[in-house]
C-alpha cells in the first residue's frame, strides 16, 4: 500500500498531503514536490498529441532507491501522487490505477461539497478515511 498520498492543485501547490507517520514527513514533501517536474513533462508531452483522449493515469513517474512514485492527472489538471515502497512488489499497475480511481472519486465528492472552496486545503473527513484505507497501516 501507499506510504504517501498527495493531491496537488492545478497551480502546483499541495491541497492535501499525507504520509505514514513513522517516516520523515518532509522527505515525502520533497519527493512529491520533485515528482511534479515529471508530471508536468508528461502532461505537456501528451498534451501536444491528444488532449481529449489523454489517459489520466501517468504511470510510474520515477523510481528512487526506496520508493516508486506514481502520478495521475485529472482533466482539470489536479494531480494525484502516490508513493509506494519499492520493496512492495505485490502491487501491480492495475492496483495502482484502482487506487487512483478511488482517490479521484473521493476527490470529486470533496469538490461537490458546496462548503468547499476550490483551492483550499482539503479537510474532509471522508476523503481522509479513503486515503487512510489506501495507506500502509503503521503498526
Amino acid at each position: 500500500m501507499a506510504v504517501c498520498i498527495a493531491v496537488v492543485a492545478k497551480e502546483n501547490y499541495p491541497l492535501y498531503i499525507r504520509s505514514v507517520p513513522s517516516e520523515n514527513e518532509l522527505k515525502f514533501h520533497y519527493t512529491v514536490h520533485t515528482s511534479l517536474d515529471v508530471v508536468e513533462e508528461k502532461v505537456s508531452a501528451v498534451g501536444k498529441v491528444l488532449v481529449d483522449q489523454r489517459e489520466l493515469y501517468l504511470g510510474l513517474l520515477y523510481p528512487t532507491e526506496d520508493y516508486k512514485v506514481y502520478g495521475y492527472v485529472t482533466n482539470s489538471k489536479v494531480k494525484f501522487v502516490i508513493v509506494v515502497e519499492s520493496s512492495n512488489t505485490s502491487l501491480r499497475d492495475n492496483e495502482i490505477r484502482s487506487m487512483f480511481r478511488k482517490l479521484h472519486n473521493s476527490f470529486t465528492d470533496v469538490m461537490c461539497n458546496p462548503f468547499y472552496n476550490p483551492g483550499d486545503l482539503i479537510q474532509s473527513k471522508a476523503f481522509d478515511s479513503v486515503v487512510s484505507s489506501m495507506m500502509v497501516q503503521a503498526c
Binding site: 502546483n12 518532509l26 514533501h29 520533497y30 514536490h33 520533485t34 517536474d37 515529471v38 513533462e41
Partner: protein, 1137 residues
C-alpha cells in the same frame, strides 16, 4: 581515473587537450589573464588543409586521467604551455629546469610544449627559441595569441602525422594492444597470437584512429573508423572499448547534427568572427550549405551511410553506457557519457529520457568521493536538471549540494557557498524573498519545504557571520509562513529572532548581497494583524468649525447647480478618500487601529507610530502589549501635525521582536479604512476650562455630537441662585482673539422663569487677545426658578375655608374680612410626600466660541461647551393664590398658601412684610398687601417677535413678563437658617389669569378727590361740619377704547362697626347740587372730571359709596374690576368756632 569532468560534452571528443600551467611564482591574477588570452584561441584553422582544430585548455589536469588518453584521445594532454615569471638572468636556469620538470609530468603524451617567460630582459631573452617566448612584462605581450596559434599548428602537424601513421599500417606489423590502466594486468599472459586477440587489437586501434580523425577534423573518416571498430569489438565482446567506439560514433554524429554544440551556456564554442567570415570557403565536414547539400559529394555519401540519426544517437549512448556499466573502474567514463547524453537530449528537448539518464547517473558509484567532489556532482546534477526543465529536481539537488558544503565531516564548513547555493534553489521552490509576492490572499505553496529552506537560509547566514541576513530571512519566514507554523514553532522562531535582533536589529533597508541579489525589507504586517484603520475626529471641544459664510462660498464655487447627479458622483469618489472632518495644526490627532495578535503568546509591540505624508507630522509612538490570540483590540496612535495642509496616513511602523517594520496600508489585504486623507487646518487657540463648582462626570448617555466636553453640577433649592466662575486658560500657542458665549437649555420640559444663566462678557472681552498661558475669568449666575406647584388637587384641604376670590363681587367690602389661618396643616399623607420632594433637573450648555491665530484668518473657530446641570430641589411653593381687594383700589391683598417642601425649617418673607416661619412640610397662608400693577405699561414685544410668534406664544410671553414684574415687586424671599441658604420664592407659576386681573391696575382709573385731597381707602378725609366739601371724581381712561357714558350715584352711609350700615342720612349729609354724576364718553388716554360738593351737617364718620347706576347700554362688555371705585371715608368734625 577517479575525477570526472562534469563539464564535458560530446563535441569535446573533437578537441585536443592543452594544459596551461604556471611554473614557479606567478601572480594568480596575471596567470589567469594570460590563460584567458590563450584560451580564446580555441579553434584554429589550419593552413592548406581547410580543416579546423579545436583546442580545449585546462589549467589543472590530474595526471591519472592522462593515462586514459589511449582510450579516448581527447583525454590525452598533447600540449603544455607553461607560464613563468623570471626577473633576472640568474633565475633563468632554475626556471628552465622547472619547465622541464613540468613537461615530465605529461611527458609520454605531449606532442609539443611552450614556455612563456615574463619579466626577463637582456641576453637570454634575445635568443630565438621556438619553445620559449620572452616578454618583458605581463602587459607587453601582444603576440601571445600568435604564438599560441603557431603552437597549435605544430600540434596539428604531429597529430596529423600520427593519424596517417596509425591509419595506414593496417596490415603491416603487429598492432599493439591499446588498453586502459586497469586492464593492463588482465592481459598478462594472454595469447597474443589468437585471432580473438588480434581482432581486439584491431578494433581498439580502429577506434583510436577514429578518435584521431575526429580530432584532426575529418569527421567522415572518423565515422567510418568508428563503425568498423564497433563491428570488430562487438565480435570479440570487448565491451569497454565497444562502448567507447559507440560513444565515439555518437559524438561524431552529434558534432554533425548540432554544429552549435551541446554545452549550452557552459562555455560552449564561440563561433568567432573569422570563422563565420570564411565559412563558405572552408570545408567543414558535415556543414550544410544553403541548399542543404554538402559541397563535398563524398561526404554526402558518407553521411547517409555512417552518420547516426538523432534517435540512434540516444540508443547508442544507452548501449555504450550499459557497456561502461559493466566495469566498476569505468565509472567516471560512464558518468561523463551520461552527462554528455543528457546534454544532447536537452538539445533534442526530450526531457523524460534525459531524466532517465540523470537518474542513472545518480546511482553511478565512483567509490569514495571527497566532499568537494560530492558538492560538484550534486550541483552539476542540479544544473543538468535545470537544463532539461526540471526545476524542482534541480532545486532539490542544489539544496543537497548546499548541505554537502557544510556536512559535519568537513573541517571548515563553507557556509558562504552553502548560502549561495541555497539562494539559487529559491526559484525551484517557487519562493521569492519579496514579501510583496505573498500579500495577495492566502499563501499557496509547499509550505513545509519552503519553511525548511528558509530555516536553512537563516542558519547558513548566521554561520556566515551575517546576523542582518538571518534577521531578514527569519522575519520573512515569520511573516509569510505564519499560517503554517505550529504554536511551538512560532515560539521558537520568535525566540531565535529576538536572539538575533539583540545583536543586529532588523530594519527596513534593502540588503544587497555581493552577488547582486537584493533582499527587500520584510514589514511585519501580520504581527499584529491590522483589521481596520480609522482616523478619529478631534474631541468635540477641539474640533475646528468653519464659519458658515465661508463654507457656503466653497460649495457655491463647486457647481452652479443645487443638485446634479454627476457632481454627486464625483464627490462620492473624492469622499471615499478624503474624510469630512479636519485636524488642527499643533493639536494631538488620533488614529484608531483594530489589531489582533495571531500569536499564541503575548505580543509586545514597541514604538508603534504613524507613517504620514503631505504634512510635517510628529508621530508619538506607542508601546502596546497584546494578549495571546487576542480578539480585535483597539489601538490608538497619536501624533501632532506641525504644518497645515492635507495629510495622508500611509501606514504605521512597529518594532516587534526587535525588527522595525514600516507597514503601508495599500499593501495590506483586508484592511478596512474609511479614508486616509484628512485636512489639517492652521493652528487655533485652545481653551482649557476650569470652574469654581465641582465637575461632574459626563455620566449622561452620549446622545449626539453636541456633547459638552465637561459639565458642572450643583444642587440648588428652587429660587436659589449661585455664582459660577469659569476660568478659561489659553493652553495653545496661538493667541485667542475672539470669544463669544451663548447658552442653550437642554431638555426643557420644565417651565423656567427668568433667565437661568446670566453673565457679563464685557470684562472678559476687555482682556482679549489672550496670550498663550493667560487666563480669563467669566462669572456666570445660575438662577433657578421652577414651578413646583403642579398638584393643586392635593391641597384641597387648604381651600376648605370657603373663601373663593374668584366668584366674589368685586366691590364687596366683605372681602376685607381676613381670617388669619392660625391652625397649621402639616402635610398629612406620607404617600403624597415624594411627589413634592421630586428633584427637578435643569440643564443648559454654555458654548464658548473662540478663535484666533492663523486659523481665524482661514475662517475657523472652535467651540468649547460647558454643561451646567442643576438639581433643583423644591424650596417653598405656593399651593394656591388668591387676591382680596384692599381698602385702596390701588392696592390689593395677595393671599398665598406657602408650602415648605424642604426638610428644613425656613422662613419666608416678602418685602416690608414680616417673616413667616415654616416647619418642614408645613403649609401656611400669607397675606401680602401689594400695589396694583400697571401691567399695560410693560414694554411691548418687538416687531420681529410679533411676526413670527403665534398668538398663543405671545400671550404666554406676555404673562411671563407680567409674572416677572409681579415677582420682582413682591420680593418674596425664603431663608433656611440651618443651611444658611436663601432664595427667591416665585409666584409666577401660580398666577392665573383671574389673579392677574385682580392684581392689574384697572384701565379705568377712578380717583376721588375730597376737599382737594385725593382720597383712597385708608385715607380719612377731614372736613368741617357746615362747610362745603368739594367732591371730584376723575376718570382716566387708559384702555384702548373709548368708554362711557357712565352715571355715578353717590350714597353716603355710616358704619356702626357692628355690621350695621345706616343709609338714612338725609338729615346729616346734604348734596350741593346733584348726587348723581354723569360722565360722558372718555376717549383713550383722556380723562374726565366731574365735580360736586357735599355739606356735612353733623360731625361724625361718614362713608361715601359711589355706585354706578345700572346703565346697561355701556360697560357690559367691560370687566367688573374696571369699575372699582374706592370707598371714601370722610370725617366731619365740628369746626372750631
Amino acid at each position: 581515473m577517479s575525477i570526472p569532468d562534469y563539464m564535458q560534452c560530446a563535441e569535446d571528443h573533437q578537441t585536443v587537450l592543452v594544459v596551461v600551467q604556471p611554473v614557479g611564482i606567478v601572480p594568480e591574477e596575471e596567470f589567469f589573464r594570460i590563460y584567458k588570452r590563450i584560451a580564446s584561441i580555441n579553434q584554429v584553422s589550419i593552413r592548406d588543409s581547410q580543416r579546423l582544430l579545436y583546442i580545449r585548455y585546462r589549467h589543472h589536469y590530474p595526471p591519472e586521467n592522462n593515462e586514459w588518453g589511449d582510450f579516448q584521445t581527447h583525454r590525452k594532454v598533447v600540449g603544455l604551455i607553461a607560464v613563468t615569471t623570471c626577473n633576472s638572468a640568474k633565475e633563468w636556469p632554475q626556471t628552465s629546469e622547472r619547465f622541464h620538470g613540468q613537461k615530465e609530468v605529461f611527458g609520454p603524451t605531449l606532442y609539443d610544449s611552450r614556455l612563456l617567460v615574463f619579466g626577463l630582459q637582456g641576453e637570454i631573452a634575445e635568443q630565438a627559441r621556438t619553445d620559449v617566448a620572452f616578454y618583458s612584462s605581463y602587459d607587453k605581450c601582444e603576440d601571445v595569441e600568435k604564438r599560441v596559434e603557431d603552437f597549435v599548428e605544430s600540434i596539428f602537424i604531429v597529430l596529423e602525422s600520427k593519424r596517417l601513421d596509425r591509419a595506414t599500417d593496417k596490415s603491416g606489423d603487429k598492432i599493439p594492444l591499446l588498453c586502459v590502466p586497469f586492464e593492463k594486468k588482465d592481459f598478462v599472459g594472454l595469447d597474443t597470437d589468437s585471432r580473438h586477440y588480434k581482432k581486439r587489437c584491431q578494433g581498439r586501434m580502429r577506434k583510436h584512429v577514429g578518435d584521431l580523425c575526429l580530432q584532426a577534423g575529418m569527421l567522415q573518416d572518423a565515422l567510418v573508423h568508428y563503425h568498423m571498430a564497433v563491428e570488430l569489438l562487438r565480435s570479440v565482446n570487448d565491451f569497454l572499448w565497444l562502448g567507447a567506439a559507440l560513444e565515439g560514433l555518437c559524438s561524431a554524429s552529434v558534432i554533425y547534427h548540432y554544429p552549435g554544440g551541446t554545452a549550452g551556456k557552459f562555455g560552449g564554442r564561440k563561433p568567432s568572427v573569422s570563422q563565420a567570415a570564411d565559412a563558405g570557403k572552408r570545408h567543414r565536414p558535415g556543414a550544410l550549405t544553403t541548399n542543404g547539400i554538402s559541397a563535398d559529394t563524398s561526404s554526402e555519401i558518407g553521411r547517409a551511410k555512417n552518420c547516426l540519426s538523432p534517435e540512434d544517437i540516444i540508443e547508442k549512448y544507452k548501449e555504450a553506457i550499459s557497456y561502461y556499466g559493466k566495469y566498476k573502474n569505468a565509472g567516471v567514463i560512464e558518468l561523463e557519457a551520461c552527462v554528455k547524453a543528457v546534454r544532447v537530449l536537452a538539445i533534442q528537448k526530450r526531457a523524460m529520457e534525459a531524466s532517465e539518464f540523470l537518474q542513472n547517473a545518480v546511482y553511478i558509484n565512483l567509490g569514495q568521493l571527497s566532499e568537494e567532489e560530492k558538492i560538484q556532482r550534486y550541483s552539476i546534477l542540479s544544473e543538468l536538471y535545470d537544463l532539461i526543465g526540471f526545476h524542482r529536481k534541480s532545486a532539490f539537488f542544489k539544496r543537497v549540494a548546499a548541505m554537502q558544503c557544510v556536512a559535519p565531516t568537513i573541517a571548515e564548513p563553507g557556509w558562504r557557498a552553502c548560502y549561495k547555493l541555497l539562494l539559487e534553489t529559491l526559484p525551484g521552490y517557487s519562493l521569492s524573498l519579496d514579501p510583496k509576492d505573498f500579500c495577495k490572499g492566502t499563501h499557496r505553496g509547499w509550505a513545509a519545504v519552503q519553511m525548511r529552506l528558509l530555516h536553512e537560509l537563516v542558519y547558513a547566514s548566521r554561520r556566515m557571520g551575517n546576523p542582518g541576513l538571518s534577521v531578514r530571512h527569519l522575519s520573512f519566514l515569520l511573516q509569510t509562513m505564519l499560517d503554517f507554523l505550529s504554536d511551538q514553532e512560532k515560539k521558537e522562531v520568535t525566540q531565535s529572532l529576538e536572539n538575533y535582533t539583540s545583536k543586529c536589529p532588523g530594519g527596513m533597508e534593502v540588503i544587497a548581497l555581493p552577488d547582486g541579489l537584493k533582499l527587500p525589507p520584510v514589514p511585519f504586517t501580520k504581527l499584529p494583524i491590522v483589521k481596520s484603520v480609522k482616523l478619529l475626529n478631534l474631541p468635540v471641544s477641539l474640533r475646528p468649525r468653519k464659519l458658515k459664510g465661508l463654507l457656503g462660498q466653497n460649495m457655491a464655487t463647486k457647481s452652479p447647480f443645487i443638485y446634479s447627479p454627476i457632481i454627486i458622483h464625483n464627490r462620492g469618489e473624492e469622499r471615499c478618500k478624503k474624510i469630512d472632518f479636519q485636524w488642527v495644526q499643533g493639536d494631538v490627532c488620533e488614529v484608531q487601529l483594530m489589531v489582533y495578535n495571531p500569536m499564541p503568546f503575548e505580543l509586545r509591540v514597541e514604538n508603534m507610530g504613524l507613517l504620514t505624508s503631505g504634512v510635517e507630522f510628529e508621530s508619538l509612538p506607542a508601546a502596546l502589549s497584546l494578549p495571546a490570540e487576542s480578539g480585535l483590540y483597539p489601538v490608538t496612535l497619536v501624533g501632532v501635525p506641525r504644518t497645515a495642509g492635507n495629510i495622508t496616513v500611509n501606514g504605521y511602523h512597529t518594532s516587534v521582536f526587535g525588527v522595525m517594520s514600516d507597514c503601508m496600508l495599500d499593501g495590506l489585504p483586508g484592511v478596512k479604512t474609511s479614508g486616509c486623507v484628512v485636512e489639517v487646518v492652521p493652528a487655533l487657540p485652545r481653551l482649557q476650562l476650569s470652574t469654581s463648582l465641582p465637575r461632574s462626570a459626563n455620566s449622561r448617555q452620549p446622545s449626539s455630537g453636541e456633547e459638552p466636553s465637561s459639565s458642572v453640577s450643583v444642587q440648588l433649592f428652587n429660587g436659589e441662585s449661585q455664582q459660577l466662575l469659569v476660568t478659561l486658560e489659553n493652553i495653545a500657542s496661538e493667541p485667542l482673539e475672539t470669544l463669544e458665549v451663548t447658552s442653550k437649555m437642554v431638555n426643557t420640559k420644565e417651565k423656567v422663569f427668568g433667565e437661568f444663566l446670566t453673565w457679563d462678557l464685557e470684562g472678559a472681552l476687555s482682556q482679549l487677545p489672550l496670550k498663550p498661558g493667560q487666563t480669563v475669568v467669566l462669572t456666570v449666575n445660575i438662577k433657578v426658578k421652577l414651578d413646583f406647584s403642579g398638584q393643586e388637587n392635593l391641597f384641597q384641604d387648604l381651600n376648605d375655608d370657603g373663601i373663593s376670590v374668584t366668584g366674589l363681587p368685586i366691590s364687596s367690602p366683605l372681602r376685607q374680612v381676613l381670617k388669619p389661618r392660625a391652625e397649621n396643616k402639616p402635610m398629612g399623607t406620607e404617600s403624597g410626600k415624594p411627589e413634592y420632594n421630586q428633584v427637578k433637573m435643569l440643564e443648559a450648555v454654555l458654548h464658548f466660541k473662540y478663535s484666533g491665530g492663523q486659523g481665524q484668518v482661514e475662517g475657523y473657530y472652535r467651540e468649547l461647551s460647558l454643561g451646567v446641570h442643576v438639581d433643583v430641589e423644591p424650596s417653598v411653593f405656593f399651593t394656591r393664590v388668591s387676591t382680596l381687594p384692599a381698602t385702596s383700589t390701588r392696592q390689593c391683598h395677595l393671599l398665598l398658601d406657602v408650602f415648605n417642601a424642604t426638610e428644613h425649617e425656613l422662613t419666608v418673607s416678602a418685602r416690608n412684610n414680616q417673616d413667616v416661619v415654616l416647619h418642614a412640610s408645613e403649609c401656611q397662608r400669607m397675606a401680602i398687601q401689594v400695589d396694583k400693577f400697571d401691567l399695560e405699561s410693560l414694554p411691548e414685544p418687538d416687531e420681529e417677535r410679533l411676526r413670527f410668534a403665534s398668538p398663543r406664544q405671545l400671550e404666554e410671553e406676555r404673562q411671563q413678563v407680567q409674572g416677572c414684574r409681579i415677582n420682582a415687586e413682591l420680593g418674596l424671599v425664603w431663608n433656611i437658617p440651618s443651611l444658611r441658604r436663601t432664595g427667591e420664592a416665585s409666584v409666577e407659576g401660580v398666577l392665573n389669569q383671574l389673579v392677574l386681573e385682580h392684581l392689574q391696575l384697572a384701565p379705568l382709573q377712578w380717583d376721588v378727590v375730597v376737599n382737594g385731597k385725593p382720597c383712597d381707602c385708608n385715607i380719612i378725609a377731614e372736613c368741617s361740619v357746615g362747610e362745603m366739601v368739594p367732591l371730584e371724581v376723575r376718570l382716566t381712561n387708559r384702555s384702548k377704547n373709548a368708554v362711557g357714558p357712565f352715571s355715578l350715584n353717590i350714597i353716603p352711609f355710616q358704619d356702626y362697626q357692628n355690621g350695621v350700615h345706616n343709609y338714612e342720612l338725609q338729615d346729616a349729609v346734604t348734596f350741593i347740587g346733584s348726587n348723581t354724576f354723569y360722565i360722558d364718553t372718555v376717549k383713550p388716554t383722556e380723562d374726565c372730571n366731574c365735580a360736586g360738593a357735599l355739606l356735612f351737617l353733623y360731625a361724625g364718620d361718614f362713608y361715601l359709596n359711589i355706585k354706578f347706576q345700572d346703565d346697561s347700554s355701556c360697560g357690559r362688555d367691560l370687566p367688573l374690576a374696571w369699575f372699582c371705585l374706592p370707598n371714601v371715608h370722610v370725617k366731619a368734625v365740628d369746626s372750631p368756632f
